[in-house]
Symmetry: C2
Subunit: 229 residues, 2 copies
Amino acid sequence: SILAAVTDLLNPRRPLAGRHAIVTSGPTQEPIDPVRYIANRSSGRQGHAIAAALAGLGARVTLVSGPVAQPDPPHVEVVRVETADAMLDAVRRALPADIAVFAAAVADWRVEQASVHKLKKTPGAAPPALVLAPNPDILATIAAGTPRPRLVVGFAAETDDVEANAAAKRVRKGADWIVANDVSPATGIMGGAENAVSIVSADGIEEWPRLPKDEVARRLARRIAAALA
Amino acid sequence: SILAAVTDLLNPRRPLAGRHAIVTSGPTQEPIDPVRYIANRSSGRQGHAIAAALAGLGARVTLVSGPVAQPDPPHVEVVRVETADAMLDAVRRALPADIAVFAAAVADWRVEQASVHKLKKTPGAAPPALVLAPNPDILATIAAGTPRPRLVVGFAAETDDVEANAAAKRVRKGADWIVANDVSPATGIMGGAENAVSIVSADGIEEWPRLPKDEVARRLARRIAAALA
């Protein structure tokens, strides 16, 4: 009802009421043949938690997710995809949006000619060479596209020079913010329950302490609500 | 107790009491760099169901599993691994065994030089070429090794000439049986709840109807118990 909508908009606990957020999460899988694929490591925990946190602040949320074992967050529309191409299509179909958070670990490359038949291992023969082709850059495409979400947030999973790489990525991709994290195996962040991120914006770099991924998500959602207020 | 052990051995509903079975399940993941990997599609459903079914017939079961979202089957010791090398190690450490069922979808190849640092996507530059190296052949290695399990069962996931490929594989690998199935995308078997398999042995080929994966597992466990009786 109109009354409920107005109440929602005035409710300080639902500051994102009336906003549409698109969140991507999980890995993408790029087929080599019917049984093999290339993928990025990603549990989808952080992306799914962000979708849940944005919904918790009242946003209508479309979550575009690669293959993950996470349960669907409540009150979120989930679109399941496999490849980077399909993820970009699903994000485009979900536009327009006020907020886009690209937390998925999209494979940078796909196999140029995926085989319809299972590649056979021939005893004694050399392994096949995989010719890779670049995948679409979802963050850069949406940040440069029309209609552009008002706030475009990318992620940078790095193992070296985390903040410098993230700051360069923010400019190169046309994102408003980059959430940067160190995914070196020693950190245990990949697949773990905690995350230690820095928020890179035009204003500089804000380092957050190591926190549960749910708490990182809630902080990020509150910061997004403040930016759009 | 000795009494319980004797009762177990004489119990017609626990015909595998006193036997040790090793089962592999799920995919293996072969790292490209800290965030990327090559894998085979495999939900682990069929392998986990086989482990549960063998335990249900009284066997002591060691389940060596790649990364899957399946819950651990009850009364089964689960060893988690990531790569084919680690899976072979875990199987070797679990020997001796009476029964070995290799249901995992082991990656045939790994990346020869996995990078410790995340490969960077350089704008304008060609994608990296991945040089692949053959992985150890777990089925052939265990079937030819010492101590050899009395019954060695392999799987053949094929998209073409399923039974002919499986029969050739049985001989080439030194397996006693091959469980062959057609994983063409149109079958919906990959990741699905049902399976349609053929059992290839020295006696010939036995085609089973399309059945829930749990029921395929129970039939296979009963057939294994009969073979060892």
